[in-house]
């Protein structure tokens, strides 16, 4: 009887501990998030978005770092009148909400850095520069070039410029030449 009582108490304790584990936060609302992003994109067709417009999306995506990081950049771009770039950021969040994949485009990231530098926000620029990695773009471009050579006629030049620009930024070289290179890539390089 003693053994049974002991086992009963032990089992009850295990049960209580296991069952009292907090359920995960309600982060799983991709359809709501997708709908909200599309709502914002529809609003953006009629007028410029403001930072306040993102409050609902902010709330829906609160615990998810990818969204929060993206929203921080989008809000910055919105505040600084960079509606096109903010729209691109929203597109990335839309894709993430549908597929769970983190789409990225180095050229796009470089043009954001150019904006941060233009407005002299070194903290934002340096945070973005930390994340820069030329290799995924080069790998993707190598593959795409085989399939679509017409878009990569000047690939060697693009690749050299990409590598040089990333290196310059990593070395905190924010000269006009660096900015011109970003501009050149923005106008000529595919994502």
């Amino acid at each position: 009887m003693k053994t049974f009582t002991f086992a009963f108490v032990l089992l009850t304790l295990i049960f209580i501990t296991a069952c009292e584990t907090e359920p995960p936060p309600p982060v799983n609302q991709p359809s709501e998030i997708t709908t909200e992003i599309n709502r914002l994109k529809a609003v953006a067709e009629d007028r410029n978005l403001t930072v306040e417009d993102y409050s609902q999306l902010n709330q829906l995506t609160q615990p998810i770092p990818y969204y929060q990081d993206g929203l921080k950049k989008i809000e910055w771009l919105t505040e600084h009148g960079e509606a096109d770039h903010a729209a691109h950021g929203l597109s990335y969040l839309l894709l993430y909400s549908q597929t769970g994949k983190e789409y990225a485009c180095l050229i796009h990231d470089l043009s954001h850095i150019e904006s941060y530098l233009h407005y002299n926000d070194l903290a934002m620029a340096e945070e973005a520069i930390k994340e820069l990695d030329a290799q995924p773009w080069i790998d993707k471009a190598e593959k795409s070039r085989q399939r679509l050579p017409q878009y990569y006629k000047n690939f060697d030049q693009l690749k050299a410029t990409v590598l040089d620009t990333v290196e310059r930024l990593k070395n905190k070289n924010y000269s006009q030449t660096t900015l011109d290179q970003i501009e050149y890539l923005d106008k000529t390089a595919p994502c």
Binding site: M1, T3, F4, A7, F8, L11, T12, F15, A18, C19, T21, P23, P24, V27, N28, P30, S31, T34, T35, N38, R39, L40, K41, A42, A44, E45, D84, A87, H88, S91, Y92, L94, L95, Q98, T99, G100, Y103, C105, I107, H108, S144, L148, Y151, D186, K187, T188, A189, P190, C191
Partner: protein
């Protein structure tokens, strides 16, 4: 023996009860708007036999995305029509996004992606590429006209 049986029974009950604790749902649900790939269709709207209501019809379009545009870049339907769009990319990865209808397709090649919706809001709405694809990306758009 009785004690052992009681213990096992109790353990089973507790385990079963504990298993009813809500489990997290998968982080990403399948895209809501994508449908299975359909056979190729013509660019011109057609009127299949099924009709959502007495006055609406089904309008079907095939749209090609390319750097940097859509073909056709203007599609017209009537309010209440059921719209079926098959879209594909003839070069790099593009998106096909009609925000007002909560539509977004990822077009990563010649394979057609299909979406259907009821055109229940009248007006002119842009459809745009939703995946930054190069310097002409921002201008990559077309128009959906929904007439009363």
């Amino acid at each position: 023996m009785k004690q052992l049986l009681s213990f096992l029974l109790l353990a089973l009950v507790l385990i079963t009860a504990c298993e009813t604790t809500p489990t997290p749902q998968p982080f990403v649900s399948p895209p809501q708007v994508e449908k299975p790939v359909q056979p190729p269709t013509s660019i011109e709207p057609t009127s299949p036999p099924t009709q959502p209501s007495s006055t609406s019809t089904v309008k079907e379009f095939t749209i090609r995305a390319f750097q940097y545009g859509f073909e056709p870049n203007l599609i017209e339907v009537k309010k209440g029509d059921k719209v079926i769009i098959h879209a594909f990319s003839s070069d790099t990865t593009h998106g096909f996004n009609i925000p007002i209808y909560n539509v977004n397709l990822v077009l990563d090649g010649p394979e057609k992606k299909t979406v259907e919706f009821i055109a229940d809001k009248h007006g002119s709405f842009h459809f745009r590429c939703s995946i930054p694809c190069g310097h002409g990306h921002s201008g990559m758009q077309g128009t959906l006209v929904v007439r009363e």
